[in-house]
């Protein structure tokens, strides 16, 4: 990891203080290289999603989440800062696990953030919407129906729409939370292709369940186990020459999850039930 560092965590700890206190992320210090795709892997309930959301303070919408440590975006701290929260979240975008169209037209789903952050003429917005829809390989599929509700697209299309919406506010880092896990194999492949294209230009941090996906897409891999960082390395070394015993087991496919050790599942947001309408 000799490249420039886009994002860095320093002894990051997230605790949910509900009925039972659970430390979902436990003292994680790691780095995310610029213009690379870093995959966060690990068994269910190991705090992957919590770590991801802590990178742009999105976990704060949950009541009872407490955090210590710090995250640096470049050289700037994002917790101990005067920068307003919306600006931090614009710079570090987030795409949720469940493909979620906002209750707006396809056009306005993409233009949503851009409209909030700046004054654009309608021609500028038209151009912006087109360019980001092209960037996620969705333009040709939707160009004739931009005024239709975003939710009328297929799930795979919605997920690419989410990517376009996030990219349209020109973030420096893009956080993707298992963005293909709710998709059928063909849609998942399309989203993966899009991510493959995007990682040339963006720093992407992606949570995934799938080791194959991490192998295919990631430049670097971070392995979390029960909230603790076990191993972080470039993808090749990580899979071919894992250092840590726990990683070796996990990579071999003997995930060796000791479920008795797992934190209380209701308190760990990694595996939130897919919300129904």
């Amino acid at each position: 990891m000799s490249n420039d560092i886009a994002l860095r965590t320093d002894d990051l700890e997230v605790t949910y203080t509900g009925n039972r206190e659970v430390t979902a992320v436990d003292g994680v210090s790691t780095e995310f290289a610029e213009n690379k795709l870093t995959a966060i892997i690990g068994p269910s309930g190991c705090g992957k999603s919590t770590l991801l959301k802590a990178l742009n303070r999105l976990h704060e919408i949950q009541p009872n989440a407490e955090i210590t440590g710090e995250v640096y975006l470049g050289d700037e701290a994002i917790y101990d800062t005067d920068d307003p929260l919306p600006e931090i979240r614009r710079r570090v975008g987030y795409v949720p696990q469940t493909p979620t169209a906002l209750p707006l037209s396809i056009y306005n789903n993409v233009a949503y953030g851009a409209k909030i952050h700046g004054d654009h003429s309608s021609e500028e917005l038209d151009d912006l919407v087109e360019s980001y829809l092209r960037k996620v390989n969705l333009w040709d599929e939707v160009k004739d129906r931009l005024d239709d509700p975003g939710a009328e697209l297929s799930t795979g299309q919605v997920q690419r729409l989410c990517l376009a919406r996030s990219l349209a506010v020109e973030p420096e880092v893009l956080l993707c939370d298992e963005v293909t896990s709710a998709l059928d194999p063909i849609s998942a492949e399309q989203v993966e292709e899009t991510l493959e294209d995007l990682k040339e230009e963006y720093t992407i941090v992606m949570v995934t369940h799938s080791m194959d996906q991490a192998k295919r897409l990631a430049d670097d891999v971070i392995f979390l186990y029960l909230g603790e960082l076990v191993e972080a390395n470039d993808t090749r070394s990580f899979f071919e020459n894992p250092q840590h015993e726990r990683t070796q087991e996990f990579v071999k496919g003997h995930t060796a999850v000791d479920y008795d050790d797992e934190p209380d599942e209701e308190s760990v947001t990694d595996e939130q039930p897919v919300a129904t309408r």
């Binding site: 931090i88 979240r89 795409v95 979620t100 169209a101 209750p103 509700p149 506010v169 956080l175």
Partner: protein
Amino acid sequence: MGTTETPSEGANRLDRRLLLERLSSYWLVGAGLFAVALFGLIVLTLVQQSIPIVSEYSLFQMMTSSNWDPAADEFGFLPAIVGTIYVTVLSMAMGTPLAILAAIYIAEYAEGRTKMLVSSFIDVLAAIPSVIFGLVGLIVVVPFVGDYLAPAVGAHSIGLGIVTVSLVMAIIVTPFMISLSVESLEALPDELRESSLGVGATKWETIRTVLLRAAGPGIFSAILLGFGRVFGATIVPAMLIGGQTAIPESPFDAGETLPTLIVNDFGELMSIPLTQSALILVGLMLLVIVWLFNFGAMLVRRRLQRRWQY
């Protein structure tokens, strides 16, 4: 499954289960049809009982005449219609914005104990029988309107009247609309909030552009149920509206609504056949208007659901 069951016993058992299955579907269809039949029966009764008055006077004439004097064979509904519209529009205009703002506060801003306290308080408020609001209205709202509010806007009021009823009805339906709106907002998946906040929107932008739309059909229904309650409200208007059978000149005047027309007159005048028929016609009008409104609302709701789906 019992291990000692012979094949024929097993077959018998299956027969019995299938019979029960068939019977149960009959019962359920029957229960459903019964509800429909009940509705049809009510409408038919009202229509049949309205015929005498409609054959005597034209519907248009009754709806546009402001003179209600059954002893003199004068049946004008206009004051009641105007009063009903006044009360409904005023109460909803006062209650709806308040309900939506309060629902947003409870669903999106209030946390922990405060949230529990406020929402349980509102649920309690929604469960109070309206007659109690009527009593409190008599003691508190009537003097407030008569002595302070009306003079403050340069109007004259005896205290009883359309504004008084509207205030009290707004207080009655608002908690009800709040509860239902909170439910719609809280049912929204967190991903909607995360998606919007995740591109750098503020909480208020998220609420205004995303959450209020996504919960829009639900909130719309909540407002509509509130509307239905105000429109059909009987006891509070009967207690507080002043029972005046003339077209109100200002909202501070006393007046009447369609339901109060029925309750005020039905006791003494049911004995005169034509009056009875006129009152039943009023009931029929109430029913038809509510039904038309619900039907229209269903269409609007369907459009909203398509437009604002997520």
